[in-house]
């Protein structure tokens, strides 16, 4: 799946997010799937998705370097695939 970094995203309201020393756990109460965010940066990105007009903006604001964007896009694609994050209409 090619993830669109330039669209607006948010965490699904049925997801419970739990920060941990290594990053975070996300649990979707509807699908009963569990996702592990394996560093603090990807947690920062996910947490801030709703506050930014695009996922790209959220990544850059969280300190993701341009060269790292593909890796973060893949991470966000995985989360979108399992319905942890969904597109939103930007305000």
């Amino acid at each position: 799946m090619t993830f669109d970094l330039d669209r607006a995203w948010r965490v699904d309201p049925r997801v419970s997010m739990r920060p941990e020393p290594f990053g975070a756990l996300l649990y979707h109460f509807g699908t009963r799937r569990l996702s592990f965010l394996k560093n603090q940066t990807v947690l920062a990105v996910v947490r801030s998705l709703a506050d930014h007009p695009s996922a790209r903006a959220a990544c850059l604001a969280s300190g993701v370097a341009e060269a790292e964007l593909p890796a973060y896009a893949r991470a966000l694609a995985a989360l979108a695939d399992s319905n942890m994050i969904t597109e939103r209409i930007p305000a």
Binding site: M1, Y27, R32, R33, L34, S35, F36, L37, K38, N39, V42, P70, A71, Y72, R74, A75, A77, A78, L79, D81, S82
Partner: protein, 35 residues
């Protein structure tokens, strides 16, 4: 060495090892010690 199971979200263009993925997914049933 066995790989940690992944959801197979690696793209065809870059074969990532599970070590490089920033997000991994497991079923909530995937923890040993819960019957």
């Amino acid at each position: 060495m066995a790989e940690v199971p992944t959801t197979g979200h690696e793209t065809e263009t870059e074969a990532l090892t599970s070590d490089e993925l920033l997000v991994e997914e497991v079923s909530i049933d995937g923890m040993c010690g819960v019957y």
